[in-house]
Every structure is written in C-alpha cells, then in structure tokens.
C-alpha cells in the first residue's frame, strides 16, 4: 500500500471544509498501513502550515502503530 497522505481534510485547513482531527489522521494512517504487509507514504496536500507538522507526526504515529 502506498498512502497519498494529504492533510487538507483537517478542520483548520484553509482550502477545504472537512473536519478531521489529528487523531483522525492517526487512525486513517493506522488503518491504511494495516491493509498490507508493506507500506509507504508520500505527502500530498495540507496548507495550514501551523498545523501541518503536528498532523504529519500524528500520521507517523498511526503508521507505526499498525501492527
């Protein structure tokens, strides 16, 4: 599985109207990574530069917790 990890569905993103939380990204990352035995991820969107680093960290958590 290759995850196209965009973070612009976050509630504070200026370009969209979704309301995903950091925990939401953690969970999506975890589920995505648990779908196959090999996972990689690539950043896509995410345009609130204040929240983006924390969301990337949350996704990293999620990828790493997919057992």
């Amino acid at each position: 599985v290759i995850v196209a990890a965009g973070f612009d569905a976050h509630r504070d993103d200026p370009l969209a109207e979704m309301r995903v939380s950091a925990d939401g990204f953690r969970e999506m990352a975890r589920r995505s990574a648990s779908l196959a035995s090999r996972t990689a991820a690539v950043l896509e969107g995410g345009y609130n530069l204040e929240t983006l680093p924390g969301l990337v960290a949350a996704a990293l958590d999620g990828f790493e917790s997919a057992a």
Binding site: I2, E17, M28, V56
Partner: protein, 392 residues
C-alpha cells in the same frame, strides 16, 4: 551546552540553522568544520575562522571553493576524501574530478546507479562516510538536523525519541525522507506551499544520508509521464502558471524530480516521503493543481518494475480527489486506487464511481463538514476493497 548521544555539536548547529530558516529568518553558523558548508543556503551562511578575520561562506563561496552546490558538499567530500576525518575518498578521484562528476551526475547516488564506479569496492569506499551505523558516527558527513534543541518548537516532538528511525512494526523501521532544498527550489507566490513541511520541529526526523533523493533517470519519470511533458517541465526557465493553480519556476523541475525521487525511495525502504510539490493531480501529459509529476504513481510503478511487487494499492486521503493517480491506473487492474475526498469539490471528477468493481478505481466521496473518520468507519465500499488485492 547540549548533549545527546550519537550527535555531534555540528548536528545541533544544523538543526538550529534549519529551524531559524524555517521560521523565516537567516542564520550565521560559526564553525571551523568545513563539513558545515553543506548547511549553506540562501539564508544560512557559515562563518569560518581564518587569518585576518572570519570568512563568510555563502552559496557562491561554496561553489567557488569546491565547484559544487552546498547540497552536494557531502558527496564531494566523500569522493575527494578528507584525511582529517579519516575519509579515504574514491580511488583516483580528486577535488577537480569530483566536482566534474557531481556536475554531470548530480549526486553520489546517481553515480552509483549509473555504474560510474569501477568496482563495487570503490563504490562502497566512496559511500562509507555516509553510513549511519553508529560506529562510524565520528566520520559521518551528513549533519543530523534532527538534533533536539531547547526552547519551543524543537522539542515538540521530543517525547517521540531522538531517533531518526522509528519502529514501524515487528522491528521494521519507518524512515522519514525529505530534503532541505524543497524550501528553496519551488517557492510559489501565493499558495500555502512555502515551507518544507518537515523542517519545523514536529517531524524533524529526516534521515541522515537519505536527503538527496532525486529521480535521476528520465526513465523513472517516464514510468507514468509522456517524454514530451517531462521535456516541457525541464524547460521551464521563468515564472509561469501551468494552470490557474499551478505556479512553476526554474527551480520547479528540480523540486519535482526530488519529490519523485523521495517517493521512490519511500517504497524502497518503507518510509514517509515529505515532499513538495505534491503529485496526485498530475496527469500523463499535464501539470494540475500544484502537481508536476505523479509522485505516488511513479513510486507505484517503481514498486512493480524494480521491486517485483505485483499488485499495489494506493490509498489517498487528501481532501481532494486523487484524479491524476486514478487516471494513470484506471485501466490497470494491478494498481488499485482508492480516494477519500470531499465531494462535491475541486477538481470536479470525484463523484462515486458508477462501476467501481469493474475497474481498479474506488472513490469514497464525503460531504463537506463531516467528520471523516466516523464516516469512513461506515463506508464499507472503500477500504475493505483493498485486502482483496493483497499480494504484497
């Protein structure tokens, strides 16, 4: 005084300079260590003690002294050798030849890929200073910009440990792959893509030695793109708008190649590539929505052609429909594309697919304003379709 096992003082200088630059400032790095030339950017200058007062080492000065760009300095030293750091250098390659080779190939990695070395032993010798196995720490060339700093920002991620590599599962490791040049190469005038998403503290784990990833061969870009389109991107010299959203300039091709290269590396090692520009709207022959090259699509094809992985699934949870990745694999049953996205929304092609099972495409459109995780939990049509493709 800051101490952290496995890190040298210069690693802290590197981390501090990078943080300052990410915050929009400029930095002067005072050090006698010429390895620090790798830190020089438009906003970071090295002050080197010298007779008659310190010398200011900026980008032009690095080029004047070494004949290479600052980002190539570590490769240059690895090739040339550095007796004071017990770095042997590559056999038969001095400073002049080293600079020529880097001008020609771009990086040591590219030279390896092109089989530029006479023997494997020569290549390993040239690469050895880049290894990050602890025992060679004292000769490691690449500054570890993830050293933890005091103050706000730099420690936000501190409780995640100071390792560049974190456990993924079963002892596997998740690499974070990025490159400081993303900050400088592709700077749009209006969009929110101004800073390196990995440069600012919360995800400071860019891995030593994995920074300079570049799609070096056109063949890798042409896994999914038309040659004429690659030519067109390479030919961009000044500020242009490729579509109403997509700004490009002379640095764009370099940044886009680097992004694709990082994505390729991510599938090779099981990592997370933090890159800009993004890629999931890029089409076979056109840029779209900030995207030049289809980073994920290229990585998927690379996984198949170079790593022997038969079937690949792409899960795209960007808020916009991943129309580019989807279009590139629409007729290819070996690559499933799953996109979760706001709908109706730009780019206007993300309505639920009327025949999802008949193709390798799965769309999961979500109404704006919803909380995606709760919704996804109920959307059995999206993620559960992936394991049936499971073969890798």
């Amino acid at each position: 005084m800051r101490r952290q096992p496995g890190y040298e003082a210069d690693d802290f200088l590197a981390a501090a300079a990078e943080r300052e630059e990410a915050a929009g400032g400029t930095a002067l790095v005072a050090t006698s260590d010429r390895d620090a030339f790798q830190l020089v950017t438009e906003n970071v200058t090295v002050l080197q003690p010298a007779k008659g007062g310190p010398a200011r080492i900026d980008m032009a000065e690095v080029r004047a002294r070494y004949g290479v760009d600052p980002a190539q300095v570590t490769d240059f030293i690895a090739l040339r050798g550095d007796p004071s750091d017990k770095i042997p250098g590559a056999r038969g390659i001095g400073p002049k030849r080293g600079a020529e080779l880097l001008a020609q190939y771009g990086s040591l990695e590219a030279m390896l890929e092109e089989g530029r070395f006479a023997s494997e032993a020569d290549a390993l010798q040239a690469l050895s200073p880049h290894r990050d196995d602890g025992s060679r720490r004292s000769t490691a060339l690449v500054a570890r910009r993830d050293a933890r700093l005091g103050g706000s920002g730099g420690t936000r991620d501190g409780d995640r440990g100071n390792s560049c590599r974190a456990p993924l599962r079963g002892g596997a490791l998740l690499d974070v792959i990025s490159h400081p040049s993303f900050v400088a190469l592709h700077v749009p005038s209006t969009s929110g893509q101004r800073r390196d998403p990995g440069a600012d503290g919360a995800s400071p784990r860019a891995v030593s030695g994995l920074r300079r990833r570049r799609a070096r061969s056109r063949a890798q870009l042409e896994l999914v793109h038309d040659p004429a389109y690659v030519d067109a991107i390479q030919a961009i010299e000044g500020d242009v708008w490729l579509d109403p959203d997509t700004y490009a300039n002379a640095g764009t091709c370099g940044a886009a190649c680097l992004a694709a290269g990082c994505a390729i590396h991510a599938v090779e090692v099981g990592g997370f590539a933090l890159v800009r520009p993004p890629g999931h709207h890029a089409l076979r022959d056109a840029a779209m929505g900030f995207c030049m090259f289809g980073n994920v699509a290229i990585a998927a094809r690379h996984a198949q052609t170079a790593l022997g992985i038969g079937r690949v699934a792409v899960v795209d949870f960007d808020v916009h429909h991943g129309n580019g990745t989807e279009a590139l694999f629409r007729d290819d049953p070996s690559v499933l594309t799953v996109s979760l996205h706001q709908w109706p929304f730009w780019p206007g092609r993300g309505a639920r697919d009327p025949t999802p099972r008949a193709s390798s495409t799965c769309r999961s459109p979500q109404a704006g304003g919803r909380r995606v995780p709760g919704r996804v939990r109920r959307d059995r049509r999206a993620l559960p379709s992936v394991p049936s493709s499971r073969n890798s």
